[in-house]
């Protein structure tokens, strides 16, 4: 299936052994490079060009000076960067924590080694020891080789922050890799996938470039599907002025499997609870790739769309659908980037997660649930890295772990957790987060999924698990694509609200099914 070796997973323990260090197993040219044309839209420099007849690009003029200037600029604007570059003691606690290292054994995929790619340059140009004793402290000159390593290895980091959990100082490699990508963007090494997608959001409103008419069409199709299945007229409103709730969801929810089943789940919940909601064609995207490239400005520009949509539609609350990094940007950054949201109803947090709506409704018994409808499955739950380590749900720390599990257990009879070293805040990334979810990075995606695959295999073999639920559009897309490499099938990945949708009996639905049964009897 591939011209590289797929990591072996046995399912014996649910946790892969730490590999012996190897060198340059994942050295390469990195993902496809963004053209000047796309960089321009992001306000990044454009004075670089394709080298005739190749897929290579030059760097910008004076790239070295400009890279160092950017590094200097960022370290005075981000305390995280300055502190993290200084204080790592090389204790090695993080070295075996990254799924990409476990899956590839490449030394430069150890979190601290990944940080060091930038730290060595920082030391060389900005610290006394590095200026005068570079060899002693491992400082290096900034050369094109170093830039190539940056580009390659900072795109083998999904910014999942697992390393940060285990570092005694919480050093967060994600912060370093975001800063590195921001520097790269300023010297002509933007990543095509991220910049192209952001261009579409800036221009059309979502990652897919799905215009208003197509979106309206899709939603109408979904209404028909739900009615066909349940007999209930569940609406998927678009641009409905004066609705109470603006739902912001990743655009994959509009068409991809199993995402779309999740979207149907949210719609059914809103319908059943009598909530007045709408989607926006102007802000028809929950994803915000600005975070991945460490660009405050681009992240804010995308976030401001949501504010504008909420104001234009006159809604009272903003609710986010199932997406990991989107929820991180929403929960942790939205208020800062695009607030204050004083024009919304102060009774509700801004923003809310759709699970923060579904769970209280389930608790209050407001949803008519028939758990047996999920009896064909035994579930486990994949904690998405961004949700687990970058956000919260509900009002208690750890709600991001409990609420999704509670919801699953409220709608399914069979639930099992995976190895505890791979769940909650120790969860392993799916392998496709942080702007890695692109076909030109398939090898690292497949290898990076190995720790999760091992944990999954462990529960499928020993505890009869048949399906893994996720609450992130990237996780869902990544898993459906890579799990076949490990002997699973695509349909084993489900949305949490898909499970809710399966078990939720809408008003009027019973009758319809009865009709169907009557018809069966008749024939």
């Amino acid at each position: 299936m591939a011209d590289y070796e797929i990591p072996k997973v046995t399912g014996e323990t649910g946790k892969l052994a730490v590999p012996a260090v190897e060198h340059d197993t994942m050295k390469g040219t990195g993902p496809w490079i963004s053209k000047p044309h796309f960089q321009k839209e992001m306000h990044f420099p454009t004075d670089f060009e394709q080298i005739g007849g190749t897929t290579k690009y030059t760097l910008v003029d004076n790239w070295k000076e400009r890279a160092l200037d950017k590094l200097d600029d960022l370290r005075t604007r981000y305390r995280s960067l300055q502190v993290y570059l200084d204080i790592c003691v090389k204790c090695g606690a993080c070295t075996d924590k990254c799924h990409y290292f476990i899956g590839t054994a490449d030394a430069k995929n150890m979190p601290v080694a990944r940080q060091d790619l930038l730290r060595k340059v920082y030391r060389r140009y900005f610290t006394f020891a590095g200026k005068y004793f570079p060899k002693l402290v491992g400082a290096v000159d900034l050369t094109e080789d170093v830039v190539d390593d940056w580009y390659n290895y900072y795109h083998q980091c999904s910014q999942c922050r697992r390393c940060s959990v285990f570092c005694p100082y919480g050093i967060d490699t994600a912060e370093i890799s975001m800063a590195a990508r921001e520097i790269l963007d300023h010297i002509g090494r933007g990543q095509k996938y991220c910049t192209e997608i952001m261009g579409k959001v800036h221009k059309i409103g979502n990652n897919l470039g799905l215009p208003q008419a197509a979106l309206a069409d899709t939603l109408e199709g979904l209404e028909e599907d739900v009615e066909w299945e349940t007999g209930a007229k569940v609406k998927f409103p678009l641009d409905k002025k004066g609705a109470d709730i603006l739902l912001i969801t990743p655009s994959a929810d509009f068409f991809a499997e199993p995402h779309v089943d999740g979207l149907m789940g949210y719609a059914k919940v809103f319908h059943q609870a009598g909530l007045d909601w709408t989607l926006s064609s102007y802000a028809s995207e929950g994803a915000n790739f600005g975070m991945f490239i460490g660009s405050y400005e681009n992240m804010r520009r995308i976030a401001l769309r949501i504010r504008k949509a909420a104001q234009d539609l006159g809604v009272k609350r903003i609710v986010f659908g199932e997406c990991g990094h989107a929820w991180r940007v929403a929960y942790s950054f939205l208020n800062t980037l695009a607030g204050p949201f004083d024009f919304l109803d102060p009774k509700y947090p801004v923003p809310q997660h759709v699970l923060e709506i579904t769970w209280p409704l389930l608790q209050a018994g407001k949803l008519n649930i028939d758990k047996t409808r999920n009896d064909d499955k035994t579930l486990t739950f994949h904690d998405s890295c961004n949700i687990a380590r970058g956000t919260r749900m509900g009002d208690k720390p750890g709600g991001q772990f409990d609420i999704p599990r509670n919801v699953i257990k409220a709608v399914c009879n069979n639930y099992v957790d995976m190895n505890q070293d791979t769940t909650h805040d120790a969860t392993f990334c799916c392998g496709g987060g942080g702007g890695i979810l692109t076909d030109d990075l398939m090898e690292i995606r497949v290898k990076g999924a190995a720790p999760r695959m091992e944990a999954l295999k462990n529960v499928t073999e020993n505890q009869g698990v048949t399906h893994m639920a996720a609450i992130c559009a990237i996780c869902k897309s990544q898993f459906t694509k890579v799990i076949p490499y490990y002997g699973f099938t695509m349909d084993q990945i489900v949305s949490v609200h898909q499970l809710v949708s399966n078990a939720l009996i809408l008003e009027g639905q019973l009758e319809y099914e009865k009709i169907e049964r009557d018809e069966d009897d008749f024939y």
């Binding site: 981000y78 300055q82 993290y84 020891a129 002693l136 285990f166 570092c167 929960y331 947090p349 991001q400």
Partner: protein, 250 residues
């Protein structure tokens, strides 16, 4: 008296570098904005909770404990012994010596051995574990060697080749009160002192910055409250006030 002058000047300079160097770094960390909330979740939702989280990190190395038990053990033994040893050393600078320092003397005496054991464990790990070896620069090994050297010379002075500790005290009290006194010229003691001065000199320009730095780590020192409060960095507020998205907007 030449010896006393050389070491006197050395310690004065080292102390200034240490204090001003750390103060400067702390000033930089302090004034550098943290534009977005990035605590590693789950994080405390109150400031008191953050103090407790930080306390567990600084005193018990909680995250390290989760990460690697051997590293934690060596690191914990080394650091705790270091504090005891340093505490015991207060007697060279204080007159009269306070009762708590006196009380700790017997514990501190043996802490020197534990400190060296811990350091040796860390050094062996650095050599033996391939991952840790890969990430080590020469300075990472030398830092451990330096500390082991300081500990070993200190212990030798204590248990093998005694020195006139009262005179040492006179010397350091003298330094503090601008009243120059002679220093015993035992070579082991001089190595001990020279190494300590060197450690003080490199403190603000090395990874030893982890000691003040940990308190500034945004992933550990932030309250989880971004939905309730905005956290605008001054440079972000500037952009907002000018109605700009990008700094180069007209």
């Amino acid at each position: 008296m030449i010896l006393g002058t050389v070491f006197g000047v050395l310690f004065w300079v080292a102390t200034l570098v240490l204090v001003l160097g750390i103060a400067n770094k702390v000033r930089i960390y302090w004034k550098t904005p943290a534009p977005l909330k990035i605590p590693t979740m789950p994080a405390p939702v109150t400031q008191r909770g953050v103090v407790w989280r930080m306390f567990k990190e600084v005193v018990f190395f909680q995250s390290l404990f989760r990460a690697s038990k051997p590293t934690w053990l060596f690191a914990f033994v080394f650091h705790m012994s270091l504090w005891l040893v340093l505490f015991r050393h207060v007697r060279y600078f204080q007159d009269p010596v306070s009762s708590i320092v006196l009380f700790m003397q017997p514990f501190g005496k043996y802490a020197g051995f534990a400190m060296i054991l811990g350091l040796a464990g860390l050094l062996i790990r650095r050599i033996v574990v391939d991952r840790v070896r890969y990430i080590s620069a020469p300075s990472d090994f030398l830092m451990l060697v330096l500390l082991i050297g300081i500990g070993a010379t200190g212990l030798m002075t204590k248990f093998v080749v005694h020195t006139d500790v009262l005179q040492v005290k006179e010397f350091f009290r003298g330094l503090m009160l601008f009243n120059w006194q002679p220093l015993p010229s035992d070579p082991i003691l001089l190595i001990h002192l020279a190494s300590v001065a060197f450690l003080m000199l490199i403190f603000p320009i090395s990874k030893l910055l982890h000691a003040p730095g940990i308190f500034f780590s945004p992933s550990r020192n932030q309250v989880d409250n971004p939905r309730e409060q905005r956290h605008l960095a001054p440079w972000a507020a500037d952009l907002e006030a000018q109605g700009k998205i990008y700094p180069d907007d007209k």
